[in-house]
Each structure stands twice: as C-alpha cells, then as structure tokens.
C-alpha cells in the first residue's frame, strides 16, 4: 500500500503545544502543505506575533521571526521591502490583527504590501487565557466580558476582512474555516491563492480562518468544530470577500 497522507516536509517533527482539537494545529499543517506544494520552503519567512501560536517557529521549517504584539504587518513589510525575493507571511490571531494591530494591518493592506496574512479568528484571546477578542460574539462570556458581550457595552464583533476589503491595496480576501474536511480543503486552497498572489506580485492577501478554541470556548473539540458551523459562521459568513487579482481560479 502506498502512503497517501503524511506530515508535510516543511512541518517539523515536533509535538504541538496546542490544546486538543485546536485549529492552530490544522492551519499549521495545511500552510506547510501549501509551502511544500509551491516549493517555497527556502524563500518563505514567517512572522508569528504573540498568541497561542507564538511558538510557530518550533513547527514551521522555514525562517521565522517573532514580532511584537500587533506589529506583524509592519515587520513583514520591513522584511519584504528589504528582501523582495522572500515570500513573507504573517500568522496572526484576532487579538493581534484586529485589536492592537489594527493600524499596522490596515495600512499595510492599503499600501498593497506584497505579503500574505493568515488570520486566525478564534473569537478569543487564547494565549492570555480567554479574554474577549474584537471578534468575540455577542452574548459570549469571557473572562473580561463576564456578563456576555453586549453590543451596547463592548461593541459588535469586528469584521476585519470586510473592513480590509475597503482598501485598494488588498487584492484578495477570503474567509474560511477549519472545522470540517470540506472547509479545511477550502482553507488550503485559499492559503495557496494568498501565497500565489504574493509570488506574482499582486499585493496584500489575507485569509481569515474561523478556528476552534475548545479550551476557551469550554467545549469538547467536536462541539467546538460544530459551533463554528452552527453559530460562528452566521456572524462571520464564509466565502470570498474580495478578489481583484483577475485570476480565474476563485471558487
């Protein structure tokens, strides 16, 4: 029998430190699959800011640099401008990209920085222990929204992809999820496109990925995966949000 599925080459042989059922692990793997597919392991430079995935460099077998919280887009900009042959991607949580990093992200996108952003929306701050994120759903109780998020007090969950779609420099934005075999495949395709855009010099691409955090959602992995379908994707609808690349391969 032939081995038809195994660990991608650019994913190091290390045990993930993530919780059981966490979406980060899946996204790591499929990103590495894309890197392998595109043959860019020796050009890729990853930028993981703090967040549960701050240790991403233990897993990705590509050059990587930690950035300060929220500054991934700026750091990636610096790298790409200094060394345009590289393929630079940020790997940012929702606290990172949509709260403290709002300005860096929006302006990098607006300048059309030729980089790829992988944006993990798990509706909470994972690393710091489950605080409210800009993406936390209404009604969700977190350690800093103990009464459940309310529009009136904590504001509505922010839709960063839709916001970023407003600026010209962003050429491709899609929202996917990693909560089912089909969605995982779609996510992989989206990540592929986001990297291809960069390789072709088309500008800023972002894939927002709804990603389960069973720990802070206080659910079992299976429940968490289903909750994305049942609840989260109602607030954050999946699908292509923007594509100005003119390439025919949108699905």
């Amino acid at each position: 029998m032939k081995k038809i599925f195994s660990r991608p080459r650019s994913l190091k042989k290390a045990v993930f430190h993530y919780c059981p059922g966490c979406g980060h692990s899946i996204i790591h793997r499929i990103t590495c699959e894309v890197i392998d597919e595109l043959g860019i392991q020796d050009r890729a430079i990853g930028v993981p800011p703090p967040g549960c995935s701050v240790f991403a460099y233990y897993y990705f077998d590509v050059d990587m640099v930690e950035s300060a919280h929220g500054r991934g887009a700026a750091v990636a900009t610096g790298i790409k401008r200094a060394h345009p042959e590289s393929v630079v991607f940020t790997y940012q949580g929702d606290g990172d990209l949509a709260a403290i990093g709002t300005a860096e992200t929006l302006h990098a996108a607006n300048r059309g920085e030729n980089i790829t952003a992988i944006f993990i929306n798990n509706a909470v701050y994972g690393m710091t222990g489950g605080q409210m994120a800009p993406t936390t759903l209404l009604g969700m109780k977190t350690t800093t929204s103990p009464f459940g998020r309310e529009d009136k007090y904590e504001g509505h969950p922010i839709k960063m992809s839709e916001i970023l779609a407003q600026v010209n420099g962003a050429c491709y934005i899609e929202r996917t999820a990693v909560n089912s075999p089909a969605n995982i495949r779609k996510t992989q395709k989206a990540i592929t496109r986001a990297f291809r855009n960069q390789i072709e010099g088309l500008g800023y691409s972002l894939v927002e990925i709804l990603s389960p955090c069973p720990t802070n959602w206080k659910m079992s992995p299976v429940e968490a995966w289903q909750w994305i379908d049942d609840v989260m994707s109602k607030e954050f609808p999946l699908g292509l949000i923007k594509d100005t690349t003119g390439r025919g391969d949108a699905h």
């Binding site: 993930f16 430190h17 993530y18 919780c19 059981p20 966490c22 549960c52 701050v54 240790f55 690393m127 720990t215």
Partner: protein
Amino acid sequence: MLIKTVFAGFGGQGVMSMGLNLAQAAMMEGRYVTYLPAYGAEVRGGTANCTVSVSDEEIASPVASSPAFVVALNQPSMIKFQNKIQSGGIFFLNSSLIKEPLLRGDIEIVQVPANAAAEDMGSVKSANMIMLGAFIKKSNLVNLQTLIDALAVALKGNKKLIAINKNALTAGYELV
C-alpha cells in the same frame, strides 16, 4: 516551620484547586500561607502545578525549589519533580496513572490509587480530592475538618458538590 508542597498534574486534573483548598484551610487555621500557581504558554496540553507554602512566620519566597511534599497526579509530573523533592520528603503518587518506578531511595513514597478509587465512588472527577485527603492524613499539614470547611467556602455553599467532595476527601483520608 516552613513547609512547601507542590501539586502537579495535567491541566484539567484539578491540581490548582487542590492547592487552593489547602491554602484556604491553612489560612483558616491561622498560619502564614502563600499559594503560587505556575502556568505558562506551554501549559496548553501540558502539565500544571502550584506551590503552597505554610508556615508559622512570614514566608520569604512562595517558590519551592526543594519542596517537602510533592503530590503528582500523572507520570510527567512525577518525572519533573522527582529530583526536586527534598531528601526525607514525601512523594504522593497517583498510582492509577503512574506506573514507572521512582529512582530515589531517600524519600518516602505514598501510593494512592486515586483514579481507581474515584471510579469506584462513581465520580471520576474527584480523583484530586481523594489525593488531597490522603495527603492530609500523611502530611498532617491541616485538620481534615478544616479542609472540609475550606471546601464549603470555595464551593460557595453548593450542597451537592460539597457532599461529593467531602466524601472524596474522607475516602482519600482513609485510603492511606
């Protein structure tokens, strides 16, 4: 006397609440107490531990570099702390999950089949309280009754939970 105890296990096994209950009880007995949780980025899917220091005078450092007592709920914790426990100390092992032998001969070992006992009692989540009961019996750090009272405080009077936990504590106390 300053006595430091480390409680260690997987996240989810309830080691933090073991420590908290002990700290609360010691406080109720009028002792100086510090409780120090240890967790970090690596906690996700890893081990968790906390340190409780109990003393009759001010406590300098809440950290235990060589604790007198270690309560290990799983194997990685046993491995992690077997070289730290002080000579002559007592190592409480959850023998339901820890199978490997310990490599030190200068410490006392108390085997507690906590998970098995908890299953017998029909409440698998009580393994930690069974361990704690056993710990108290051997360590004599606080009275069992104080611990039960402390529990009542922590559980904010939830009768059902108090009963379950009290049973587990007592069962552990009698197990060793």
